[in-house]
């Protein structure tokens, strides 16, 4: 405190003699950063001091107010002084008043309520007989004024338009301009007065009115075409030196006024030959007059060239303007060179040939040491890109990208490269380097380019191989500096196309090892890890040595530790567990104990599963560990289909899996199993070169479904997967209608597609499929899969076994990821029914979700609509700030949501007869809202 009081002490001792100078000095000292840190004075205390000074020392208020301004300038909010600033404007002498207004304009925002306190002062000052006061009030008004209070002072400001003093008229016009900016409707009736201001005998007033006209003409050029003549006349007079001498700047008549007029003319003459013809003469005159060698004349010239190239073209004028640019570009002054390049950018958009005379300069600028010159040159080159030079230009752009540190220009330039890559699809390898950018749609575009491919199969293969090779090379190096979205792209590409690598067959684990290394790295975000995992899953579909997976349980646990939604203590399961135990379920046994028991109880006929389901079992061992959230639910289905292939495709109906029989088997692991839900299609396709088997075609199919809450595939990734699927096919390319999840398997000349379709029209899907592959023998099997116990995510794994030649059974494993949201269907109920159901359901979860704001909808409606669209929920009713929503599992139990807007979040209460349904649904709601 003593330290703090020290400066105050100085003030009080010396106030009598010369307070102002001392105060200023003392406050400056106090406010200097060195002093602040040395004496560790808290800003809070300083503000108290400031407040004390402002309220108790009116004679030196002005000086202290300046210090308060200084304070804010240094970044310390001096809110204590705001009210004093308003007081000063209200009560002070003329000088203090000006300072008060100044402080207000620096301290406050347009939306600040403090401004309302100023309205009366402004009103009083506007009516004052002292011109200075009127003047400063108008200045304050034209800087900031509360929108709602405009009508209170509008008549007085309008009146000032006819004031005998030019300065008052000018400031009145500027005040009206401000009103036009913040509330255009309020000044609509005085447009005729603007015209009068434009024709004012004083050039200052006319200049001020041009601000309004630039704005008006920009918004609707059509309505102001009749003023073209006036603007042309004004410009001619200005250029001709008719203005008083003091408007000159370095002997150039009113340069900024000229620039303003040229901009207005450009808007008026754009795409309008008639209007443009009126201004050709004056534009030419501007070009001719602006010959004096000074920066400001170049500024005018630049604007003039821009206008000439914006208005309806006149060959002669264009030529003159183009010649003019030569002066810029060739200038040794760097600023002019820059502006010349910018002007040239406009010009070449019309005629790329105009760049030819400046070729050498452009090349020079491209290697210029100044980055902004380079950037401007690239911008210019971008405009003259054609099929011949695109490769070189893109190369230059990429070179620049490597040096650039400015995020904004990087994003901009990457966008341009991507645009070029799409426009000239033969640049094959360049786009690969451009994913260094941060703009989210660029990787998407690039991936689409890669997945859809070009016209030639061989080119596609080469491009993809190049991508894989360069990414493998990248991953072998340091990866910490790569942007997240780039890592995601890498993961996707490797997952999809790693099989193209020539050494993939000999060392399939190489890519996987690289990806796992990436997964372990701390800098990979959760989103990126999902991509990596997805890629690894894809790679797993080809045979790999199992040693790679030995440490996976640990790794995945580590990965999932980072996922925020996971409640690792599993406390939310406590109720469920005790319930199950009470119902006679066996207590949980750790894996090693189970393993031991398994060894002892081999007699329990588990063996056949172990043999026939290698993949699904290995997946299980992973999911077992990673499922902190819920225990995996597994289920086995066995069925066999036999018959002629054509018959099969005709039959193609849906078969609901009967699970009652197998329930007990999985009960051993402690999980109850209920499932059937979606449609599974399994299509063994004998390839073309084989003769169509007319004889018996046996295809016993066995499959296993594993429900586990793994990382869910989001919509985007599924789309990617299906587009990838198109590319993978060797000789068939099958396009599936809106599939939820798909996997294609190739095994010894067969092409098997396993596909989950989240649509009730099963027959339609199989029809399409058959249509696509007609000419080949096709067998189609369909199964409906339903989810009985809700889970965030399920993994559907199985084995397709078939016999092409009787007596030679073959089997191919598959696995698909399905999310809960594919199983959710809207439940149409009335509010009454909803109420009854609500009371009867026992399992509930409460949680706050974030609200979405969209357009003019209320946040509640917007949020519920988002959930409806993304998760297929049914919005039953919205009453005030509450909404009720219902859904059910496909062919299963319902879940009800009760939503209430609470402060700025949405309090959601979910209820369902299924224990884990509310929790899982909540997870998807959170996700859907986060993605929205």
């Amino acid at each position: 405190m003593i330290r703090l009081l020290y400066p105050v002490h100085i003030f009080s001792c010396n106030l009598g003699s010369n307070p102002t100078a001392l105060l200023a000095e003392a406050l400056s000292t106090v406010l200097s950063p060195t002093f602040l840190s040395k004496y560790s004075i808290k800003i809070k205390h300083l503000m108290c001091l400031l407040n004390f000074l402002l309220s108790s020392l009116p004679p030196v208020m002005k000086e202290i107010m300046v210090r308060a301004i200084y304070c804010e300038m240094l970044g310390y909010q001096a809110s204590v002084s705001y009210i004093h600033a308003i007081k000063l404007a209200q009560q002070g002498s003329v000088l203090e008043k000006r300072l008060g207004y100044l402080a207000v304009s620096l301290f406050l925002n347009e939306s600040d309520e403090f401004l309302l306190l100023l309205v009366n002062t402004v009103l009083k000052d506007l009516q004052s007989t002292n011109l200075n006061e009127v003047c400063m009030a108008l200045t304050a008004v034209s800087q900031m004024f509360p929108k709602d209070m405009i009508p209170a002072i509008l008549p007085i400001v309008e009146e000032k338009l006819t004031h005998p003093k030019e300065v008052i008229r000018r400031k009145a016009v500027l005040a009206l301009y401000k009103f036009y900016l913040i509330a255009p409707n309020q000044v609509q009736h005085i447009h005729s007065k603007f015209r009068k201001a434009l024709c004012d005998k004083d050039p200052g007033v006319m200049t001020a009115s041009l601000h309004i006209y630039l704005q008006l003409v920009k918004e609707s050029p059509e309505s102001y075409k009749d003023l073209t003549v006036s603007f042309v006349t004004i410009l001619r007079q200005v250029v001709g030196g008719k203005l008083p001498m003091d408007f000159n700047y370095h002997s150039v008549p009113a340069p900024w006024l000229q620039i303003q007029l040229l901009r207005i003319l450009a808007y008026l003459g754009k795409e309008d030959q008639g209007t443009s013809e009126m201004m050709y003469d004056v534009l030419e005159e501007s070009l001719r007059r602006a010959e004096m060698n000074h920066n400001i004349t170049y500024a005018i010239l630049y604007e003039c060239v821009k206008s000439i190239y914006t208005v309806y073209p006149k060959a002669e004028l264009l030529e003159k303007a183009a010649k003019c640019i030569g002066n810029f570009v060739l200038s040794p002054k760097i600023n002019l060179k820059y502006l010349g390049l910018k002007a040239l950018t406009y010009v070449v958009a019309q005629d790329p040939n105009l760049a030819l005379p400046h070729q050498m300069t452009i090349i020079e600028c491209l290697d210029h040491s100044d980055i902004i010159i380079k950037r401007a040159t690239l911008e210019l080159l971008f405009r003259i890109t054609n099929a011949q030079n695109v490769t070189v230009i893109v190369e230059k752009m990429l070179e620049f990208l490597r040096q650039s540190s400015n995020d904004y220009s990087t994003v901009d330039l990457v966008g341009k490269v991507a645009e070029l890559a799409e426009k000239y699809p033969f640049i094959k390898q360049d786009p690969l380097n451009l994913c260094n950018g941060m703009q989210p749609d660029i990787p998407n575009n690039f991936l689409r380019l890669l997945a859809e491919g070009f016209d030639s199969v061989e080119e596609d293969r080469q491009l993809r191989l190049f991508a894989v090779d360069s990414y493998v090379l990248l991953l072998q190096g340091e990866t910490a500096s790569l942007p997240q979205c780039f890592l995601q792209v890498i993961s996707w590409v490797l997952g999809e196309y790693a099989h193209l690598r020539p050494d993939q067959a000999s060392d399939p684990g190489k890519v996987m090892r690289l990806l796992t290394r990436l997964l372990d790295q701390r800098h990979a975000s959760a989103q990126t890890r999902r991509w990596i995992l997805s890629a690894l899953t894809k790679l797993c579909s080809s045979p790999v040595e199992s040693s790679l997976f030995s440490d996976w349980p640990v790794r995945l646990t580590a990965v999932f530790r980072g996922v925020p939604q996971v409640d690792s203590s599993l406390s939310f399961l406590d109720g469920h567990v005790s319930e199950a135990l009470a119902a006679g379920a066996a207590p949980y046994k750790p894996p090693h104990q189970r393993q031991e028991e398994l060894a002892h109880e081999k007699a329990l006929s588990l063996e056949p599963y172990g043999l026939s389901l290698p993949v699904s079992l290995s997946t299980c061992s992973i999911t077992d560990r990673l499922t902190d959230r819920q225990s995996p639910t597994r289920l086995s289905i066995s069925s066999s289909v036999s018959g002629n292939s054509t018959e099969l495709s005709l039959k193609g109906g849906s078969t609901t899996l009967k699970l009652d029989g197998v329930k007990r088997v999985w009960g051993k692991e402690g999980y109850l199993v209920q499932q059937p839900k979606e449609v599974v299609e399994e299509t063994p396709l004998p390839p073309t070169e084989l003769p169509s088997p007319l004889g018996s075609f046996q295809s016993p199919v066995s499959q296993t479904q594993t429900a586990s809450p793994g990382p869910e595939p989001d919509q985007e990734r599924q789309q990617l997967a299906s587009s990838l699927f198109v590319g993978v096919g060797t000789h068939h390319s099958v396009c599936l209608v809106r599939s939820t999840a798909c996997q294609s398997l190739r095994s010894s000349g067969h092409f098997i597609i396993v596909c989950c379709v989240s649509s009730p029209q099963v027959s339609c899907v199989s029809g399409d499929l058959v249509e696509e592959v007609k000419g080949h023998s096709v067998a189609t099997c369909q199964y409906a899969v339903v989810m009985m116990r809700a889970s965030v995510d399920v993994e559907l794994a199985g084995l397709v076994s078939y016999q092409r030649v009787p007596g030679q059974p073959r089997a191919t494993p598959f696995s698909l990821r399905l999310s809960l949201k594919h199983f959710i269907r809207p439940l149409t109920v009335s509010t009454g029914e909803y109420g009854k159901m609500w009371l009867s359901f026992s399992h509930d979860v409460k949680q706050n979700l974030r609200l979405i704001t969209a357009g003019d909808q209320s946040p509640l409606t917007a949020t519920l609509d988002t959930l409806r669209d993304r998760l297929h929920l049914h919005v039953v009713d919205i009453i005030g700030s509450e909404g009720i929503v219902a859904c059910r599992l496909l062919r299963g139990q319902p879940c009800l949501l009760h939503c209430r807007v609470h402060a700025d979040s949405l309090a959601v209460w979910l209820r369902s007869p299924i224990p884990e349904f509310p929790d899982s649904l909540l997870y998807h709601c959170q996700k859907a809202l986060a993605e929205a």
Binding site: Q77, Q143, G204, Y249, W256, L336, S369, N406
Partner: protein, 145 residues
């Protein structure tokens, strides 16, 4: 459209700042430091315009003092560059050989001059006599008192 005008010395101390677009007071020091860093690192033979985020900076150096103007992409850089000079000429005319100290100790007056020249991000007056007229009138009144 002008976004802000800064006067900063070589040590990076802000001598005057005026924002024409809302910037939180808490974020200003960081922005200013960033802007100054961008300008100070430039060499004499380099261009007086710098890209910064999604806008451009136009800067001009007078002895140890930098004047930096943030402008939108549509603005004419060279005209702003000359506007800065015009501003300095006006200050010169008012203070007579303006120095950093003049600006430090007459912050209010510099602001009043600036208010006459730029409003809402637009150049509203460039005539030196007219820019100074209101301020001179105020000074006259102060003398009379």
């Amino acid at each position: 459209m002008i976004k802000f005008l800064l006067m900063v010395n070589k040590q990076g101390q802000t001598r005057l700042s005026k924002y024409y677009e809302k910037v939180d007071i808490g974020k200003r020091p960081a922005l200013e430091a960033d802007v100054v860093k961008g300008c100070l690192s430039r060499k004499k033979e380099q261009c007086s315009f710098v890209e910064y985020k999604d806008f451009k900076l136009v800067y001009r150096q007078y002895a140890a003092l930098f004047i930096v103007v943030g402008i939108s992409d549509t603005e004419n850089e060279l005209s702003i560059y000359e506007l800065v000079h015009n501003f300095v000429e006006v200050l010169d005319k008012y203070f007579g050989h303006v120095s950093e100290l003049d600006i430090m100790f007459n912050l209010d007056k510099v602001h009043i001059i600036l208010d006459e020249m730029i409003q809402n991000g637009h150049i509203v007056e460039t005539n030196r006599n007219r820019i100074l007229a209101p301020l001179l009138a105020l000074d006259k009144m102060a003398e009379a008192h």
